[in-house]
């Protein structure tokens, strides 16, 4: 009888542990929020936001998972300072007026190998729903004692829908966003 009780308690504790959501802080050193946009229909110009922060929650119930990311517009880096200065100006991101680009999930669904995440994406002062599939979710311990997980995904945005209309035509309207990030378990 006593053994049965102990077994039940251990099982219950195990279930509680298994059902617990894991909170992660985004690791900026292992996060890439890249964009790619067509130039004159000839080539693709790519860049990234260097200052990124965020957090996410992985729950056994996918609907309770959540993702939130903030990118500092000022940290845009396309590998060319002159172009970056122009990208920060009101002709493009208007970094002084809209210093952050944010994403906050509103719905998460399970898909094979990851999650389909829908959320509010705010850029250039305009908020629109955006959906992307994040694949991954494996785990690793690195460095020792630090638990990590990571995801990778991509989506396409129309910049004109966010009020960013400069030179639509010579510079593509579609912006390919690709994200890849790790989170450190809190």
């Amino acid at each position: 009888m006593r053994h049965a009780m102990i077994s039940m308690v251990v099982l219950a504790l195990g279930l509680v542990t298994a059902a617990r959501a894991d909170e992660y802080a985004l690791d900026p050193a292992h996060a890439a929020f890249d964009f790619k946009i067509q130039h004159l229909g000839l080539s693709w110009t790519s860049g990234r936001f260097n200052a990124v922060e965020g957090a996410f929650r992985i729950d056994p119930k996918p609907a309770d998972c959540a993702f939130a990311v903030t990118m500092q517009t000022e940290s845009i880096d396309s590998g060319n300072k002159q172009r970056d200065d122009h990208l920060r100006s009101p002709d493009w991101f208007n970094a002084k007026q809209h210093p952050q680009i944010t994403f906050k999930s509103t719905a998460v669904k399970p898909v094979e190998g990851g999650y389909e995440v829908t959320g509010d994406f705010t850029m250039h002062g305009v908020t629109k729903p955006v959906t992307l599939v994040l694949k991954g979710g494996g785990s690793a311990e690195f460095p020792k004692g630090v638990q990590r997980t990571g995801f990778t995904g991509s989506t396409v945005l129309k910049r004109s829908e966010f009020g960013m209309n400069t030179m639509v035509g010579p510079i593509g309207d579609d912006v390919q966003l690709s994200v890849s990030f790790e989170g450190i378990k809190k």
Binding site: P28, A29, D77, N80, D84, D85, F142
Partner: protein, 307 residues
């Protein structure tokens, strides 16, 4: 990239609208004076519209706040002062109110006023906004005063040339659309300056006032929303003030034409140096990569991975 054909079209539109308004107001008696500041304001707006300026509201962007709020305010003040001349103190007070309001208006909703990364603290905000108001007001007051004392096209041409240089410098500093706006302003000011040679110009001080605040506004948005350097902004803002040297006693030994030639040379030298320096910086920074700063784990961390 700036389109030279579109810019030339905008300059032509600005010049044409300015000339039409000046000519249209010519026969209005006392009202003719109010036509001059209005001509510069409308010419500037016509050029901006020709460049594709389409407002989404009144206050959403820096350019909307400049073109739809600050410029009309300056035109209203100068137009009113042209119609109903006030004492110098009262005129200065009116201009001072608009100049002090221009800083917060132009920076409305930006990190400078709302705080956050790159923004100003409460104390900094007050100090910077007062300084900004003074930097807008001083050229405005002094150039209108100078124009009242000395009629003619020189001051208008000086602000026009400065607008041209400010446009090029702002474009080279990464804010293309604001830089382009300065070129129709240059055309509008050159038109009123040339018009002083053709028709009576009772409202020229008002036109100088509007031109001065338009130029200051463009420099402010170029500096705070683009990457125009403080030094270039200050030098460009101060360049038209060289016109005061014409009245400088040590230059009294020169007759009028050598003195004008000297001043024009000095002004163009200053403006040319600023544009040249901005171009050198543009060339230097085109293609230079920004080094990454992300911290990396140690080699040992990699060697220990998955052990």
């Amino acid at each position: 990239m700036p389109d030279p054909v579109a810019i030339l079209g905008a300059m032509a539109a600005a010049g044409a609208v300015t000339a039409l308004v000046v000519l249209g107001f010519r026969r209005l008696g006392r009202g003719a004076a109010a036509g001059w500041p209005l001509a510069v304001g409308l010419g500037f707006l016509a050029g901006a519209a020709r460049l594709g300026f389409h407002p989404r509201g009144l206050l959403a962007t820096d350019q909307e706040r400049l073109l739809l709020v600050v410029v009309p305010l300056a035109v209203a003040v100068e137009g009113w002062l042209a119609l109903r001349p006030q004492s110098p103190a009262r005129a200065a007070l009116l201009r001072g109110v608009v100049a002090l309001a221009s800083g917060p208006l132009l920076l409305l909703g930006s990190v400078y006023l709302t705080g956050g990364a790159g923004g100003w603290s409460a104390v900094e905000r007050i100090l910077y906004l007062v300084a900004l108001g003074m930097l807008i007001l001083i050229p405005w007051l002094s150039l209108t005063l100078l124009q009242q004392r000395r009629a003619g096209p020189a001051i208008g041409m000086a602000i026009s040339a400065t607008s041209l240089a400010a446009g090029l410098t702002t474009m080279l500093s990464g804010y293309a659309s604001a830089g382009q706006l300065a070129l129709p302003l240059a055309a509008a000011l050159a038109t009123v300056a040339l018009a002083t040679r053709v028709v009576p110009s009772p409202g020229m001080p008002g036109a100088i006032g509007v031109g001065s605040i338009c130029l200051a506004g463009l420099l402010v948005i170029g500096r705070f929303f683009g990457s125009l350097s403080t030094l270039h902004g200050v030098l460009l803002g101060a360049a038209p003030l060289l016109c005061w040297l014409a009245d400088w006693p040590p230059l009294g030994f020169l007759s009028i034409w050598p003195r004008r030639l000297l001043l024009a040379t000095l002004t163009l030298l200053l403006l040319g140096t600023v544009v040249w320096q901005a171009q050198q910086q543009f060339l230097k920074h085109s293609g230079s990569p920004v080094p990454g700063t992300a911290p990396a784990p140690s080699m040992q961390d990699y060697l220990d991975f998955a052990r």
